[in-house]
């Protein structure tokens, strides 16, 4: 880490600390949302960057948000226990679907569509259990004012601090996986599973590991989001729409770089908000129309995402953003993949 990067990090932290003091409440609210969603998109990118494109993160988000909220409302159980239970439930769900998927080699399109169905199952179950969850009308947590026990803070400053910490933790985990030995294994798997297995990589373990971490973090993000907005609706925290939103924002920002998903969150959320303010309520849908066009253009012209494209501009000789497998591996890899 060079001096200039350290300086940049210090400036960033100073800005983050100064934000709640300077920003008016509306923008603070926006900042909290951007940070929480950045965390969720980063969690998705943990899988997405290795080519495991999941449309099922809406399911994990929904489970993570609903479990602590329901436990709180019906049993008065503190979110300090409820949130870990929600995360555990999401991890269990991810393992339940992920394990056979990986074992049976459900990849690519098929993986995307199986996980898409998973989002739909969670969404429709939440709607069907309308006696408990309020169905599509949504559901409000019992408010008790300022309380650490209930993890409810009417004052936005607290949630700002929580979401900053959450976001930084997400980045740290991203970096930990990026720097770890697992990352090279996963890169190898995403290029050629058989070849990776043939050089002694435990394919199942690597895939399950990253899936479980990704699902668990997504559920945690959903829980914090639920505690913050204090209103849950199946359409906004579960289902295909949310899954697509996660996938698109992460890809638009770029899944191969640390800050890519966060840039995706910043851009998509500020775009949606400013278009909403700009057009008002007279043109419902205008914001998403422009959003949709941008998404298509982004995928056609910048498949590496915005941050990826910028990195390419800055480092033209770096070649493909996605790094190849490490040298000693590739020597054994070539013949085995040619033999297929």
């Amino acid at each position: 880490m060079s001096g200039s990067r350290l300086l940049a990090a210090i400036i960033l932290i100073a800005i983050l600390i100064a934000v709640p003091a300077i920003l008016p409440p509306y923008f603070l609210h926006l900042a909290i949302q951007i940070l929480i969603w950045s965390f969720i998109y980063t969690a998705w990118a943990l899988m997405g960057r290795f080519g495991f494109v999941s449309f099922g993160h809406g399911a994990f988000l929904g489970v993570g948000a609903y479990v602590p909220a329901l436990l709180w409302n019906f049993y008065g159980l503190t979110p300090w226990i409820g949130i870990p239970l929600g995360v555990a439930a999401a991890v269990l769900l991810a393992a339940l679907v992920g394990y056979p998927c990986f074992r049976r080699r459900v990849v690519g399109h098929y993986f995307a569509l199986v996980t898409l169905a998973l989002s739909q199952v969670v969404l429709l179950s939440l709607v069907a259990a309308r006696d408990v969850t309020g169905g599509s009308l949504g559901f409000t947590q019992k408010a008790v004012g300022h309380s650490w026990y209930a993890l409810q803070f009417p004052e936005k400053g607290y949630f700002y601090a929580i979401s900053v910490l959450l976001w930084l933790a997400g980045l740290a985990i991203w970096r930990w996986i990026d720097r770890g030995i697992g990352r090279e294994a996963l890169d190898a798997i995403s290029e050629d599973e058989d070849a990776a297995a043939s050089i002694g990589i435990d394919v199942m373990r690597a895939k399950m590991g990253v899936t479980i971490i990704s699902a668990g973090l997504t559920a945690l993000g959903g829980a914090i989001y639920g505690q913050y907005v204090m209103y849950l609706n199946p359409e906004t925290v579960a289902g295909i729409a949310v899954s697509l939103q996660i996938v698109f924002a992460a890809i638009a920002g770029g899944v191969y770089s640390l800050l890519g998903p966060s840039v995706g969150a910043l851009l998509t959320l500020s775009l949606t908000e400013s278009l909403r303010v700009w057009f008002g309520t007279n043109f419902i849908g205008a914001a998403n129309t422009i959003y949709g066009i941008l998404l298509v253009l982004c995928i056609i012209f910048m498949p590496q995402g915005i941050v990826g494209a910028l990195q390419r501009l800055r480092l033209p000789r770096r070649g493909p953003i996605k790094p190849a497998v490490a040298e000693p591996h590739s020597a054994t890899r070539r013949p085995s993949s040619a033999a297929q």
């Binding site: 080519g51 494109v53 679907v97 056979p100 998927c101 049976r104 080699r105 459900v106 690519g108 399109h109 098929y110 995307a112 569509l113 199986v114 898409l116 169905a117 998973l118 739909q120 199952v121 429709l124 179950s125 709607v127 069907a128 295909i240 729409a241 697509l244 996938v247 698109f248 890809i251 043109f283 419902i284 849908g285 205008a286 914001a287 998403n288 129309t289 959003y291 949709g292 066009i293 998404l295 298509v296 982004c298 995928i299 056609i300 498949p303």
Partner: protein, 283 residues
Amino acid sequence: MDIYLLEAIINGILLGGVLALLALGLNLIFGVIDVVWICYADIVMCGMYAIYFLAQYGVPLPLACVIAIIGIAGLGVLVHLLIIAPVLHSPPLNQLLATGGLLFFLQSFATLLFGTDFRNIGVRLPVLEVATMYLSFARLIAFAVSLIGAVALYLFLKRTYIGTAIRAIAQDREIVGLMGIDDRRIYLVVSAVGGALAGLAACLLALQYDVHPFIGNTFGPVIFMICVLGGLGNMIGGFVASFVISQIIAIGGYYGSTELSYVFAFTFFIVLMLIRPRGLFAP
């Protein structure tokens, strides 16, 4: 047997017909162009709006249907030229995402233009009473027309020169070029036929359902599930899978609620995918 259960089963078969038509269109596009149009159901939604507005302006319904089918076929060609062609050689997931962006666009653009109101073309078809069961005439028509559409597609693929070329390209993409077939032209024809099938489905659905910008979300996931179950690109598999899924939805709806029936269907799909990852009818 319980008469209501029988009614549910028959309605399931009738629903299966329309789903089969949609699955055929999607499978045709996937089998030939090798791209999943995740926005397929939203293209159907465009067709339903076209019929609704044509009917509003006094165009007779059969003519409106013909115009809608031609219009949606044109839309299919446009989708191919504007969105699929530039990403034809990208990784499959980028293609999936590009059509996903189109899904966002179509839904929001429809909301922008028409608002979120539920609109009905206002054609009331009689309900038949057969042995104390109520069967909607609109559904019977939809079932019959879907089957005719499926047979017509079969004849088109089997009996015409261009149909043969389409089947050839689905079998071996590399070789057909050597046989003097222009694959770009075939892709356009396939997109048009896929669009026309979506337009036909729109005509049949407009008779039964109100149109609104998000109606695609009701059918879209189910159609994908059917295509994947039948084996993506496998038209006969998709045809059979439509009736399997529609029965699960119909019978599930009889025992539980509508949402639960879809939960059953999706769970069945996930479980089957894990048992038979390449579809129900894979060798």
